[in-house]
């Protein structure tokens, strides 16, 4: 499901780069200065008729040259499942925009090349897209692993880099000003919204004790650790904390140790299988905490009830950026278009696709606001103000780290609903969590 299961596997995070196609006007200008390019672009945008068909424009027929966006995506290899989700998102956005006549009168073409989930191939791919194919814009690949080298290539050539799937801490440590992670918050802070919610409760209702079970993985344990530091600062006592390796086959002993401590809240820094195993063990041990949060796994609308039993999901919380039924900008249209093109239901929409789609929406929004499509304008525009997408309104710090929060979602009546913050809530949070079996 679409919830930002940003870290289904740490390799699976997404990174998308958006690079502006260079149009013929830019092509002439890049040799001189960025300022000259901007002037030419403005001129180009302002005088449609004179531009079309003229100069270096590859396409004739009186229409403007297409806006070509290049992206390297993992269509094979370890990240191929998620990579294909990203590809669908890019393509869907291009189709949607083209159905409306394109951006600033230019049709959008997405040129996608396969990087086989390789961090060296991804560099070659972006160099080729920029230098050989002369794409106008570039969008990012999938995973932090690939986003880091790819974003450096984009930086070297002055391209904006919109990455829907590469939000690990190392990405932001690069301090790249051309980089934008297209999700509401850095991956390791996706659980902060749960801490915000708990601390928003009246003191009498807040949990007094907490236990933490964390998968040893760069995108799981840190999410729980961020929550723990906020809880401890607020006086919520840590009664148990355990980090388990990914090869741990049996979580029952860990959950038995947690149940023996009877904590008010259990925080799981989880991926998928371990999230299911935590719940199954707790059910077998007959221990139901007042609050339970799992960073990932629990935000999968289809898999989760299948794996843990629908009745056992009641009251469990997780976080998400996009979710079925989201009222964020363009989400309804996105969902409808996705189902029309790829089939399934709102519950089966891939969140990787939603995040990739959002990258496209940002380009569209900048063009609508500034009338320009060059990389410099995109970079400077996105650094100012907030921008509406299917993931909600996004804004960034100087290093491309998003400054927002995820949405808190909770299982209620067999459905996953946003419950916090109030601006997106479709139901009130239920607490204490109902006992196992509903």
């Amino acid at each position: 499901m679409k919830l930002s299961r940003t870290s289904r596997t740490h390799l699976e995070e997404k990174g998308v780069t958006v690079v502006h196609y260079r149009n013929r006007l830019q092509r002439g200008a890049t040799a001189t200065t960025a300022a000259a390019a901007a002037v030419l672009l403005i001129a180009g945008c302002a005088s449609k008729a004179s531009n079309s068909g003229g100069g270096t424009a590859p396409s004739g027929g009186g229409s403007k040259a297409p806006l070509v966006i290049g992206a390297s995506v993992s269509l094979t290899g370890d990240f191929s499942d998620s990579g294909k989700g990203v590809q669908r998102g890019y393509q869907l956005w291009a189709d949607t925009v083209n159905a409306k006549g394109g951006i600033l009168g230019r049709k959008v073409t997405v040129k996608i090349v396969d990087d086989a989930s390789s961090p060296t191939q991804v560099v070659t791919n972006y160099q080729n897209l920029i230098n050989k194919d002369h794409v106008d814009l570039t969008f990012g690949p999938f995973s932090t692993l690939l986003t880091i080298p790819a974003s450096q290539v984009a930086k070297r050539y002055g391209y904006a880099f919109l990455a829907p799937a590469g939000g690990g801490p190392d990405v932001f440590k690069q301090n790249l000003t051309n980089f934008f992670f297209v999700q509401p918050a850095p991956t390791t802070q996706s659980g902060d919204v749960f801490a915000s919610y708990i601390l928003s409760l009246p003191a009498a209702d807040r949990p007094k004790t907490a236990a933490y079970a964390e998968l040893d993985d760069p995108f799981s344990a840190p999410i729980a650790e961020n929550i723990r530091s906020k809880f401890e600062a607020a006086g919520i006592q840590t009664v148990y904390k355990q980090v388990y390796p990914s090869e741990t086959q049996d979580l029952s002993p860990v959950m038995a140790a947690i149940a023996a401590k009877m904590p008010d809240v259990i925080v799981g820094g989880t991926q998928s299988e371990d999230a299911y195993a935590q719940v199954k063990s707790l059910v077998q041990l007959k221990y139901s905490p007042k609050f339970m949060f799992q960073s990932n796994g629990a935000n999968s609308p289809l898999e989760y009830p299948n794996k843990v039993g629908a009745a056992n999901t009641a009251g469990i919380m997780s976080s998400a950026d996009w979710y079925p039924g989201s009222k964020a900008s363009g989400s309804d249209a996105f969902t409808a278009a996705y189902i029309a093109k790829y089939g399934g239901t709102a519950q089966t929409v891939d969140d990787n696709s939603a995040e990739a789609y959002a990258a496209g929406q940002l380009v569209e929004a900048v063009a609508a606001k500034t009338g320009k499509l060059d990389n410099a304008t995109i970079i400077s525009s996105l650094h100012a103000g907030s921008w509406p997408t299917v993931l909600g309104d996004l804004a960034w710090g100087a290093n491309g780290a998003p400054t927002g929060e995820y949405n808190l979602v909770q299982w209620q009546g067999g459905k996953l609903l946003p419950v916090y913050p109030a601006t997106v809530a479709q139901a009130s949070p239920v607490y204490p969590k109902p006992n196992w079996g509903g």
Partner: protein
């Protein structure tokens, strides 16, 4: 203390399943002096078969065991006849490592194509049920798994000790030359023995699928545990496999519960190393060819 005792309960209940898998492994070694690296893959194949019977026809994994064991018995015999028998006797111990590893990879590939690599688990209606006994939780599925494994081991025991075929196997294990002189057909015993090992893998697989999520790659983790259990107990000793499984399971569960899951595997290997230093043939192994 409560968590510790709960951990021990979990460990003991899980031990039965590993004992069942390891008994097949040690049986094959006892008869043929072949270390079957495909045993883990056969367990996972057994898990898939019972998963498929459960999801397609609603047959409970515990009830489908007769079906899966027969199917896997046939597969085991086929593997022995097709891949192991052609090996020359004097090279068999060494080459069989390569051959059985190839069989493991072949099975893994077939399972990946057939069931994809998505992680599966067999979720029966009683998957999350448990009984409360003196404040401790006895999970139903683990209890069934334990009882069933004990029953399967009992059947195996009877087969080896009360039947003509069992006597032939034991005779072959103790002294293959004499057994042959007395009219035991060694190649037939080998084939049936390998089939029997595969059948125990199928029974264990049905139970394994109830306890843990699995996919085609799960056999790597399994085979390393199985080899450790068999080494600990003594190669060729079924009783040793049971004790080895108990040691592995309970030590893992206790350490995971009291200290950290990160240390549980290591603790076990420390025990294994100590045992092998003091008693290189394992807890119940014999230096000469012996009983199983």
């Amino acid at each position: 203390m409560h968590a510790l005792i709960q951990g021990i309960i979990l460990g003991v209940l899980t031990a039965g399943v590993y004992a069942l898998m390891a008994s097949g492994q040690t049986l094959i070694f006892g008869i043929m002096k072949v270390v079957n690296l495909a045993q883990g893959a056969m367990v996972i194949l057994g898990a898939y078969l019972s998963y498929q019977l459960f999801t397609s026809f609603g047959i409970d994994p515990l009830l489908s065991i007769p079906l899966t064991t027969i199917a896997m018995f046939v597969l085991g015999v086929a593997v022995e006849v097709l891949f192991l028998r052609p090996l020359r006797r004097e090279d068999r111990s060494e080459l069989s490592l390569l051959v059985t590893f190839a069989v493991a990879l072949l099975l893994e590939g077939i399972m990946s194509v057939t069931w994809k690599t998505t992680v599966r688990s067999t979720n029966t209606g009683y998957a999350n049920s448990s009984w409360t006994v003196f404040g401790y939780q006895i999970t139903l599925v683990r209890l069934w798994a334990f009882l069933l494994s004990i029953a399967a081991l009992g059947v195996l025991y009877l087969l080896l000790n009360r039947t003509r075929f069992g006597r032939a196997i034991r005779a072959t294990v103790q002294n293959p030359e004499s057994a042959r002189l007395l009219g035991v057909e060694a190649s037939r015993v080998s084939a049936l023995g390998f089939g029997l090992g595969a059948a125990t893998a199928a029974a264990a697989g049905s139970v394994y699928g109830l306890l843990y999520p699995f996919n085609s790659g799960s056999h790597y983790d399994l085979i390393s545990r199985l080899l450790s259990i068999v080494l600990l107990g003594g190669l060729g000793s079924i009783g040793g496999a049971v004790v080895g499984a108990l040691v592995v399971s309970t030590s893992s569960a206790i350490v995971a519960s009291a200290i950290s899951p990160s240390w549980s595997e290591m603790t076990f290997f420390v025990i294994l190393l100590l045992v092998l230093l003091i008693r290189p043939q394992g807890l119940f192994g014999t230096t000469a060819r012996g009983a199983i």
